[in-house]
Symmetry: C2
Subunit: 463 residues, 2 copies
């Protein structure tokens, strides 16, 4: 066969793909995340990869996200179809860059078909045309949940989020983590009480949000550059550095809220935070899993209340592994309705890539097969096929070796792929309705009646 010459078959820069052992890890994580999301009643949706450009740009290009437009590649003699199909100009289409704007569009499209509060999860891939660097991808999967109400949304939905984060990261066993909780009303209220102008507050919040990244000195400089007085700057630094256990911080906040001038927003934020913390505890989340961190704000300006970040202890440099918060004016944008919501997002592709690099996660075996039925004699193939089917019907994943190779090679190949068991049947075994079951992990080999084989394998696999 002639080689197709000169074609660069590598993936385009920034578009990652996984080997089977990595993809299987991703599926395991997706299954776990989905199981936890569903256990809280979140229901799945998927929006198309492609939306109208005007929909994606309705809120402006969120941050610096560069959107990919799409356009059919037509041969010269079919250009007319493009214009007929109305696929350009006002009908321009592009790839989604997040799942929030599409959620807003989804809600507008199906308003009367959905039940509110609408609790949905969505684990699609999104696309951003950024320069591929620093482990950033141009295509990546996000695992989002949001719950949206048409009027009021109980703060207990905010309390569920840390419970969900805890269950997921405990289930996947990546070590200790800490969910840092704050409420943007507390920050806004605190800045108001210092007499800082409303127009400056969002900028100031963005600056302190960078405390961990840029350090205290830099935060001070940037605040002063914004025109904040040295005295207020120091007050801000002292405030966001308040620490202690959850109850101590709540006490300090309640005390402050009685003493701050014009503290309405501040008090509201403290009350909200206390309600959320009480809910988190009632949901059984252990105290070691969460804290109040007054420097957490989430850069995105749409958050209006509770905000979360999650840090892997001992791996703080990885940044937040799960973040989110509450917003008021985000998903109702297409229908002109205030729809309060709260949500979190796990940037799964980046997370896997970083956790694999850091050695925190390990890939899975390259195949889901748990058993290989080896090929000893071609004439026994009907038996091999029958035994394979019996094992499969019992829920076991089986490869039947159709290739005739030396037995040692067959064991070796199975072991290399991480398959645990080989089933060996020769003429004598077949006649006696028996098999030899070889455990490649221990080297042990036992004789098992064919009738008991599935039960024996399941027992050993702890299925």
């Amino acid at each position: 066969m002639a080689k197709t010459d000169k074609i660069n078959f590598s993936t385009p820069s920034g578009f990652p793909e996984f080997l089977p052992s990595e993809k299987r890890l991703e599926l395991y994580l997706l299954d776990t995340i989905r199981r936890v999301y569903e256990s809280y009643g979140f229901t799945p949706i998927e929006t198309p990869a492609v939306e109208r450009l005007e929909v994606l740009q309705a809120k402006g290009n969120q941050g610096d996200n560069i959107i990919y437009g799409i356009d059919p590649i037509l041969p010269p003699n079919r250009q007319a179809e493009r214009d007929k199909a109305g696929e350009t100009g006002s009908e321009a289409r592009a790839l989604k860059f997040d799942q929030t704007v599409p959620l807003a569009a989804y809600i507008a499209r199906h308003l009367n078909e959905l039940t509110f509060p609408f609790a949905r999860y969505q684990m699609d891939v999104v696309f951003r045309g950024e320069r591929a660097k620093d482990g950033r991808f141009r295509q990546f999967r996000q695992c989002d949940i949001d719950v949206i109400a048409r009027r009021e949304l109980s703060l207990l939905y905010d309390a569920q989020m840390p419970a969900i984060i805890t269950e997921i990261f405990e289930a996947v066993n990546i070590g200790d983590f800490l969910i840092r909780i704050n409420n943007r009303k507390i920050l806004t209220g605190f800045f108001q009480s210092l007499g800082i102008a409303e127009t400056q507050i969002k900028t100031c919040i963005s600056i302190i949000d960078n405390l961990e990244k840029i350090g205290e000195t830099k935060v001070k400089q940037e605040l002063e550059k914004e025109g904040i007085s040295p005295e207020n700057t120091q007050k801000i630094i002292d405030f966001i550095k308040i620490d202690g256990n959850v109850d101590e911080v709540l006490d300090k906040l309640k005390h402050l809220s009685q003493n701050l001038p014009t503290a309405e927003q501040f008090s509201l934020g403290v009350t909200e935070l206390e309600t959320v913390i009480t809910g988190v505890r009632n949901l059984g989340v252990p105290d070691k899993r969460f804290c109040i961190d007054l420097s957490i704000a989430r850069g995105l300006n749409y958050y209006t209340g509770t905000v979360y970040e999650t840090t892997l202890i001992g791996h703080e440099a990885l940044g937040s592994i799960c973040s989110g918060g509450r917003y008021e004016e985000l998903v109702g944008m297409f229908i002109g309705e205030k729809m309060p919501g709260v949500g979190i997002s796990i940037g799964l592709t980046r997370l896997i890539s970083r956790l694999l690099k850091a050695g925190i996660l390990k890939t899975l075996p390259a195949t889901p097969a748990q058993v290989v039925v080896v090929n000893m004699q071609e004439d026994l193939m009907p038996t091999y096929l029958k035994v394979s089917q019996q094992l499969r019907q019992a829920g076991i994943n089986v490869i039947t070796n159709f290739e005739k190779r030396p037995l040692g090679k067959q064991f070796q190949a199975a072991d290399k792929q991480g398959i645990r068991f080989c089933v060996i049947i020769g003429t004598d075994e077949a006649a006696a309705q028996k098999s030899s079951l070889k455990d490649l992990q221990t080297g042990e080999q036992v004789e098992v009646a064919l009738a008991d084989l599935a039960a024996e394998v399941k027992h050993r696999l702890e299925l």
Copy 2:
């Protein structure tokens, strides 16, 4: 909140999205398909949605598939970045239109990291810029398996495919179906024996492949238009209409193969077909599930041996719900190696859309929740949260009602979403560590100790 005016928030034409009840059905089908694929040892991969355009076009635009190019939408002052990033010209990128060309690229990219025979499944969405009509989508999900070898690939892999198709469609319970099996070597060999020129054979095969769609008269006309003599045309028609049970057809073919002149390809095809059929039977597929249909060829010219189509009995107009076959020169294209493979594909998005319309499949309840813990008294919320968590830890999906509404409304809302059970706890029940469990399907209400609640719900759900 001001409405974002004049934005057309509908999905772009041809880009479908599902309601939760439909997406849950899709996930159920994906889970089932994946379980069966994995039980035969197929391992998951996912290739990026985006490939280099030259990769996608390496085999020419397969059929009439129109490819979508992608291009970052940059503000005027950042156009230079596009050129720097080298994203145009020879680096042009586009959305994948199938999973076969990307599989070939994947194998080229990871040749030394994969174990052969390489059995992979892939359930990604693909994109085709066709006119959206006739239930055709521009974005749709395909569930493909292929097994690829570097030299020889046993015909028993071909035999596994009907077993896999059978298990999937029996599991999802869509009624009777028939897998129609043929071998293109038989067709090629038969045309050769009639003295039809090699250059005409592929065209003739494409024509007879349309027998079901265009009827016998039209097939005759088209063959004669190709220059096939009326005598040969009649022989072809008689041949592809050979019917009977599998053994009868095999007997007829074997008889023919002894009598046809220059029947080498023909005999080879018959031997292959017989080997495959024997394998299918040894794998326990009941005879009612498959037949030999000599008119099946699969339009795509890359198939070289076994071919499959699957018809839903009583719904033949839906067309084939699962098709595939064996090929020799497809996935080795980027490395210039002959790599025999065999695969099948389920066009899931289209299948769901058609089966829902035909009433063959039904959507699932709009939420995965199985239980609602109703809100009777706000002050009992800590109990509601605790009970909800106990149920979740037992593997039950639970919504806690945070909103205080009349009990009847809470039952109604749960029932409307297809949730089966409500857990009712008032002051007395809480004090006695009990609850009332209401079955919304039967109306029955029983008293259950909180300690037994999870077990009782699981029992009733048959979990």
